[in-house]
Symmetry: C2
C-alpha cells in the first residue's frame, strides 16, 4: 500500500482512445444508438441525414459505431493536456474523519479550467464541427456549467458560440454568465426574441423565468434555421457524449494500477448520465470482459429520482416535446423537478445507455436527500479541502455511507467516486444550507404520475 495522497498520471499516459460501450451493451445496441432515436413528430426512427442538420457527421458516426475503442483525435488530446490526466486522490483525511477501514478514492474533474468534466466532450464536439467547416455552435445552459465548457472549447478552435441561458440563471448566476463571456461566447437570456419559439413563449408569458426545455428549443431552432452555419451541441445523454467522458475512467484504471488497488465500488452522480458513465463504463468493461466484479452505483436526488422511481420507456428528450424520443428511465417529460441546488441533476430522463444497464442489473441506483447530501459535502470539504459541486456531493454522500457500512461490518473495501466538479460557483447553495434554508424535497409521486400520462405514443411494430 502506497503512502500517497494523489496519483498523478504522466501526460504520456493520457488515453489514446475512448471506450465505446456499444459492442458490450447487454441489450440490443439498436435500442441505445440512433436507430432507436425517434422523430418527435412521426415517432419513426430518425435518419443520420435528419440528425446531421444538428450534429457533426463524425459525432453521428460515433453514436452508431460498434468499435470498442475510438481514437481520440490528436488536436483533442492536445487540449486535454491543458489539465488532463486529472488526479486520482486517496481521501486519507476523510477516511480518518469517518474512522473507517475502507480506502476511499476520488477522481477529481474540477481541475479543468471551467471546473467540471464537461470540457471532455465539448472539446471533441468543437473539433468535429471545425473539421466540417461550420462557423460555430448554438447551445443551451441551465446553471452554466455546460455553457462555460462549450464557450471555452469553441474559443480554442476559433468557432463562434451562442449560448441560450435560462433567464433566471442568467440573472441569479452572473459569475457563470461572465465566465462564459470570458471565453468569447455570446450569452442570451432565454426565452428571447431571437427565435420564433422564444417569441411565442414571451408573447404568452413575458415574465417567465425560462426553463432548460425552452432554452434547448431555442438553441435547436437557431441551429436548424442557420443554413448549416451552426451546429447544435448537447452536454450529456447521447452516446458519443458518454463515450468522450470515458477518458475519466480509463485514466482512473491506470491510476489504480499505480496505487496497487482495485475498486470494489464505483460511484458517480447521474443527471443526464455523462459523468457517471465516463467514470463507470471502463470499470464495467472490466466486469464484462476481465472477470472483475465491481459494484457500480449511480446516485440521484430524491427530488428527481429518474433511475429509482422512473419507468424504462420511450419519452421525449425535452420538455417541449421537440427533441427526439428515446427509450430511457423517465419521470415524464412534463415533470418539473423542485428547485434543488444540484441543477445538473434536474433532468426528467436519463442517458439510454445508463437506463439499459440499470434495467439489465449491471449497475445499481440510489437516491439521496438534499440536506444530508450537503452535510456530506461540508464534511468532505473540511477533511479534504475541496468544496464540491452540489451535483458531485451526491456521489460523496453514498461513498461515505458505504465507508461507514465498512466500519460497521468490519470490512475494508476500496470505494471510488467521481468528484465531477468544484463548487466555487455554487457557494450560494452552501450559504442557504448553513442558514438552514434548504428544503429536503420528497419524491413528488403525484406529479410524476400526472406527467407519465403525457408519454408519446410509440408503435415500433
Amino acid at each position: 500500500m502506497s503512502d500517497r495522497y494523489k496519483y498523478l498520471l504522466p501526460e504520456k499516459d493520457l488515453p489514446k482512445a475512448w471506450y465505446n460501450i456499444n459492442p458490450d451493451m447487454p441489450v440490443n445496441p439498436a435500442e441505445t444508438a440512433w436507430n432507436a432515436v425517434l422523430h418527435p413528430g412521426t415517432k419513426e426512427p430518425v435518419t443520420p441525414d435528419f440528425l446531421s442538420v444538428l450534429f457533426p457527421m463524425r459525432f453521428i458516426g460515433e453514436a452508431i459505431s460498434m468499435d470498442r475503442w475510438v481514437e481520440i483525435p490528436e488536436p483533442v488530446r492536445e487540449i486535454y493536456k491543458l489539465w488532463r490526466p486529472s488526479p486520482l486522490y486517496r481521501a486519507r483525511r476523510l477516511e480518518k474523519a469517518l474512522d473507517t477501514p475502507a480506502h476511499i478514492y476520488y477522481k477529481y474533474e474540477g481541475v479543468s479550467p471551467v471546473g467540471s468534466h464537461k470540457p471532455n466532450t465539448a472539446i471533441a464536439q468543437a473539433f468535429y464541427a471545425k473539421e466540417e467547416g461550420v462557423v460555430g455552435f448554438t447551445t443551451e445552459t441551465g446553471a452554466g456549467q455546460w455553457g462555460s465548457a462549450m464557450s471555452m472549447a469553441c474559443n480554442l478552435f476559433d468557432l463562434e458560440c451562442h449560448v441560450y441561458m435560462v433567464k433566471v440563471s442568467f440573472y441569479q448566476k452572473p459569475y457563470r454568465r461572465i465566465l462564459i463571456e470570458s471565453y468569447g461566447a455570446s450569452v442570451t437570456p432565454s426565452p428571447s426574441d431571437k427565435t420564433q419559439y422564444g417569441r411565442k413563449v414571451l408573447a404568452e408569458d413575458p415574465d417567465t423565468p425560462g426553463s432548460l426545455g425552452i432554452a434547448i428549443s431555442e438553441a435547436v431552432e437557431a441551429a436548424v434555421t442557420s443554413n448549416g452555419k451552426y451546429k447544435y451541441s448537447l452536454g450529456s445523454v447521447l452516446g458519443p457524449v458518454l463515450m468522450h467522458q470515458t477518458v475519466i475512467g480509463l485514466e482512473a484504471l491506470k491510476q489504480f494500477e499505480m496505487a496497487g488497488e482495485y475498486p470494489d465500488i464505483i460511484i458517480g452522480c447521474a443527471g443526464g448520465g455523462s459523468n457517471f458513465a465516463g467514470f463507470a463504463f471502463p470499470f464495467l468493461h472490466e466486469n464484462f470482459t476481465n472477470g472483475q466484479n465491481t459494484r457500480v452505483i449511480a446516485v440521484e436526488p430524491t427530488a428527481c429520482p429518474t433511475l429509482t422511481k422512473g419507468e424504462y420507456t420511450f419519452d421525449y428528450g425535452d420538455t417541449a416535446a421537440m427533441a427526439p424520443v428515446v427509450k430511457m428511465h423517465t419521470l415524464g417529460h412534463t415533470f418539473v423537478p423542485p428547485g434543488i441546488h444540484a441543477g445538473g441533476l434536474r433532468y426528467h430522463g436519463m442517458a439510454p445507455h445508463v437506463s439499459a444497464l440499470l434495467d439489465n442489473g449491471d449497475i445499481e441506483a440510489v437516491a439521496v436527500h438534499q440536506i444530508p447530501t450537503f452535510e456530506a459535502a461540508v464534511q468532505f470539504a473540511r477533511a479534504e479541502g475541496i468544496i464540491p459541486a452540489p451535483e458531485s456531493a451526491h456521489a460523496i454522500k453514498v461513498a461515505m455511507d458505504e465507508a461507514i457500512k465498512c466500519k460497521e461490518e468490519g470490512v475494508s473495501k476500496v470505494i471510488a467516486f467521481n468528484l465531477s466538479g468544484h463548487g466555487h460557483f455554487d457557494l450560494g447553495a452552501y450559504d442557504a444550507y448553513f442558514q438552514g434554508q434548504l428544503e429536503d424535497y420528497a419524491y413528488a409521486e403525484d406529479k410524476v404520475k400526472e406527467a407519465m400520462t403525457h408519454l408519446p405514443e410509440v408503435n415500433l411494430g
Copy 2:
C-alpha cells in the same frame, strides 16, 4: 526539448525544507529580521517576548533564523500533499498566440483548495499554534483570499478561526465570505463592536465601509486581549511567510530540470511580496551561489507602485500606525490606493526582504496599468483556459511583454511566471472590464507626497 504541457512532480519530490534567504541577504540581515522591527509606540526594536503575544514562538524563531534550510514539519507536508506539488505548465498555446520564439512557463498555485498560494503559509502557522496549545487564530481579510486560506488551515488542525473581513467586501463578495464559513470560521464585518478599536471607529463613522488597516487593528486587538487564547496571523510581508512560500520556487527548480530548461527571466506580482518571494527566492539562491544569472522581476500596479515609486525607509506596517515599524519600500502608511480590482496588491508597503533586494539591485520592478493587465489576462485565459486572479494577471502582463520583446529581437528566452491564483471569485472585475467600466488609474503622485509627510520618526542611534 520535451513535448509536454505540464510538469508534474511526484509527491515524493515535494521539498522537505523551505529556503530561508536570511543568510544570503546582500544586506545586514538585522535590517530584514525582527531586530529591525520597531515598536510602533517607542520606535525601539521589539523583543521576541513582545511579539510572542501575537505570533507562535516557532514562527518568531524562523524570522531570526540564519539556517539556510528550514525543515518543513511532517504534518505540514502531509497537508501540502492535498494539492502539492503544484504543476508547472509550458504555455504552448500562449506562445503560439503571441507567435514568439520564447518559451513561456507558469507555476500554477490556483490548484490549492482555496485557489491561491496563501495556504502554503497558513498551514504552517496553524500547525505552530496547535503545537503551542492555543485555541485558535484571529486574522483579517480584505478581498477574502487570506481569510479562506486561514479558515481552511485552522479547520485542518482543529483550531478556531475568527476573521475580521473589511465590511464592504463582506457585503460585496459574499462568495468569499461563504467559502471562509464553509471551513468553519466565524466572519465578522469590520469595523465591529467586538473590539474597542472597532467601536471607536463606528462611533466616529457608523457607515464606514471599513479598510484593511482597521481590520488588522481589530484582529490584533482580539488576539492581544485574549490572554493567550488566540494568536494573530498575517498572510504576507513577514520573513517566515515569505519562507513558507519558497516551496513554490523549490518545486519549480526541480520541474525545470524535468523540462530540461532553465529560466532566463522569473516574474511574480508583488503586493505584500509573499507569492513573488516564494517563487523567486530559490532562483535568487541559484544566482547567488550557483553562478546563474536569471533576471527576477516583481510586478506591481501603477496605482500602487510601492517598489517603482516608493521610498526605501522606515514606516508603519498598517494604516492605523498600530503595527510595528519596518524598513521597506513605502508610499506612506496613510496612502489609500485607488480601488483597483487586484485587491491583494493594494498595500502601501512591501516585504522588507523584497525591498532590500531591490535596493541592492538583485531584482527588478515594473509597474503596469489596470486595463492592459486585464487585456493580457483575457488573452491568457483564451489561450490556456485558466481565468487568472487580477493580481496574478500583473505577472502575466509582463511575461507577455517580455515574450513579445523576444519576438522583436529574434531571440528565444525561457520566461517563467507565478500564476498565484485563479479568478473564480473575481469575475465581477472581468465583467467590469468587458463592459468598459474599468479605470486606468495613474500614479497619484500628490497623494503619495502627502502621505510621505506622515512617516514615523525613527532614530536608530
